[in-house]
């Protein structure tokens, strides 16, 4: 599955990552752990609650199941325009 990163976290780990499709149950929370292990220098940034997950253009919570998602996006706090 594809992971997209925006803003500051995108600068730190790259704009796009691919992870193996996890087996159920796999939540956003668990996906974050996997990503933090892949990118230990950015683990603090990846574990911040202010970094929100977005699936299908909708913000989702930590318990959201991602196993069927094509793409999961991660948004830091908006800067605004």
């Amino acid at each position: 599955m594809k992971i997209l990163f925006y803003g500051r976290v995108g600068d730190m780990v790259g704009r796009e990552a691919r992870v193996e499709r996890p087996s159920e149950p796999a939540t956003v929370r668990e996906l974050r752990q996997v990503l933090a292990e892949m990118h230990p220098h950015a683990s603090e940034e990846l574990m911040k609650p202010s970094l929100r997950a977005c699936v299908g253009d909708t913000l989702v919570g930590e318990d959201f199941r991602v196993a069927d998602a094509e793409t999961v996006e991660f948004f830091p706090p908006l800067s605004g325009g």
């Binding site: 925006y6 803003g7 500051r8 995108g10 600068d11 977005c54 253009d57 996006e73 948004f75 830091p76 706090p77 908006l78 800067s79 605004g80 325009g81």
Partner: protein, 153 residues
């Protein structure tokens, strides 16, 4: 009337935007416009080399549309326009243009003011300032949040 917006990946000319906005109007007596320009200095006073506005392929456009639509619904305006850059922006370049047209000026001033306060906090962008002493990602200021709160019901 539905608001109209444009996300621009390359520099735009505010004078051209205003001119085409004016030409499309039918019965407006009052037109207010605003241009936001990239400042040459960061908040800390160091020289800025460039600004990078990261955006989302769909949600950023949606956020501009939502601001324009909300302004059209809330104020007695006949037309509004929002043009917003994304990508690399150099000091002195326009970042955002908003305009509002109404029969009388109060609604036009308020709609333009409202759209800018909304855009400063709710537009889906991540802004990085590249200064001579390093890069930093920007968050809305307390003043921006207070301005946004002015418009809450």
């Amino acid at each position: 009337m539905r608001g109209r917006t444009r996300l621009a990946g390359s520099p735009f000319d505010p004078a051209e935007e205003l001119s085409s906005f004016l030409q499309a109007l039918t019965d407006a007596g009052a037109i207010v416009s605003f241009v936001g320009v990239a400042r040459p200095q960061s908040g800390g006073g160091t020289a800025v080399e460039r600004m990078f506005l990261d955006h989302h392929p769909r949600l950023t456009q949606q956020s501009l549309d939502e601001v324009a639509d909300a302004a059209s619904a809330r104020f007695d305006v006949g037309a509004v326009r929002v043009v917003h850059r994304f990508g690399e922006i150099l000091p002195g370049e326009p970042i955002v243009f908003v305009a509002a047209a109404s029969r009388h000026r109060r609604a036009a001033f308020e709609a333009a003011d409202y759209m800018m306060d909304r855009l400063k906090t709710d537009a889906v962008f991540w802004k990085r300032e590249d200064a001579v002493d390093g890069s930093r990602w920007i968050e809305p200021t307390e003043a921006d949040r207070a301005d946004r709160a002015r418009w809450s019901e």
